[in-house]
């Protein structure tokens, strides 16, 4: 029975393929966009979106980012006390309704104060990286709990 890791269990260079992935539905995107007050028609208006570059709606960026963070928690940040920062977030490919997102991460730094730097990527069902970013989280020591 475990969710996330203590500081003693995290080392620079560790990498994780997170499981399971998740299919993003039309409902997810409409609901997430509206509950976060984003009314951009590219997320909520299918008819209008048919006349745009991809001919369809695109999944809202923060939904994909939030999901990749969530997927990484079981392996890494599930015991973290807080998040300090995300950095260098890149949206590299569009995500469409019905696409399935998988995630993988690498621990890029661990410091003595408990700040862990994690690089994560979200991939679609074809294996293309759709988003990548780093984040810094504060992770407690097991002995402190």
């Amino acid at each position: 029975m475990r969710y996330g890791r203590y500081l003693e269990e995290l080392q620079t260079g560790q990498s994780f393929e997170h499981w399971p992935g998740r299919t993003i539905t039309e409902f997810d995107d409409t609901y997430f966009s509206l509950m976060s007050m984003n009314q951009h028609p590219l997320h909520v208006d299918d008819y209008w979106s048919r006349g745009t570059q991809h001919g369809q709606r695109l999944v809202e960026g923060p939904l994909v980012i939030s999901l990749v963070i969530g997927m990484s928690q079981a392996d890494i940040g599930g015991r973290a006390l807080r998040t300090i920062e995300y950095s260098d977030i890149k949206h590299t490919e569009p995500v469409f309704h019905g696409d399935t997102i998988y995630a993988r991460s690498k621990v890029t730094a661990v410091d003595a104060n408990g700040i862990v730097t994690v690089y994560s990527e979200g991939l679609n069902q074809k294996g293309a990286v759709v988003v990548s970013f780093e984040r810094r989280i504060l992770v407690p020591r097991k002995e402190a709990q």
């Binding site: 976060s36 939904l63 939030s66 973290a80 950095s87």
Partner: protein, 150 residues
């Protein structure tokens, strides 16, 4: 009737105060954590959270981030063709259920696209504040804005 801005309507140095803000509820926090597959018990288990240093459940960071971006879109990227990315997203003060988030954005830079005449890159800083005016989050992002006149 407008949502977002054309490229020509952005000017470096302009500050937009976003309205309305939004109160984050306990349901928002639990629902957001679960839908995004984030099961850190700090966000979904009140009993566990009481045993942690803060002694209570903070609002999940990715919700604060998503909401700040969402409430900024009407004044900023509501006509965008594509979001390019974020330089950083910093969490400066924790938030708790029942608190409200308000936002503002400042245009840092406006640049014509080097390759396409019908658009340009807009660089903005967006800041989020709680109801006491304490800054809880700050982020910088870039997006492509279409031109009104091509």
């Amino acid at each position: 009737m407008s949502y977002g801005r054309w490229f020509e309507e952005f000017e470096a140095g302009a500050v937009y105060k976003h309205w309305p803000g939004r109160t984050i509820t306990e349901h928002d926090n639990t629902s957001f954590a679960l839908l995004s597959m984030n099961l850190n018990p700090l966000f979904i288990d009140e009993h566990y959270a009481r045993s942690q240093p803060e002694g209570r459940r903070p609002v999940i960071d990715s919700l604060i981030f998503s909401l700040l971006v969402g409430m900024s879109v009407a004044d900023t990227s509501g006509r965008t063709i594509a979001n390019l990315g974020y330089d950083f997203v910093r969490f400066e003060t924790p938030m708790y259920a029942g608190e409200s988030l308000y936002g503002e954005s400042e245009v840092l830079d406006v640049r014509e696209s080097a390759t396409k005449k019908d658009r340009g890159v807009v660089h903005i800083e967006t800041r989020g504040f709680n109801e006491r005016g304490e800054r809880v989050i700050v982020l910088r992002r870039k997006f492509l804005a279409p031109k009104r006149v091509v």
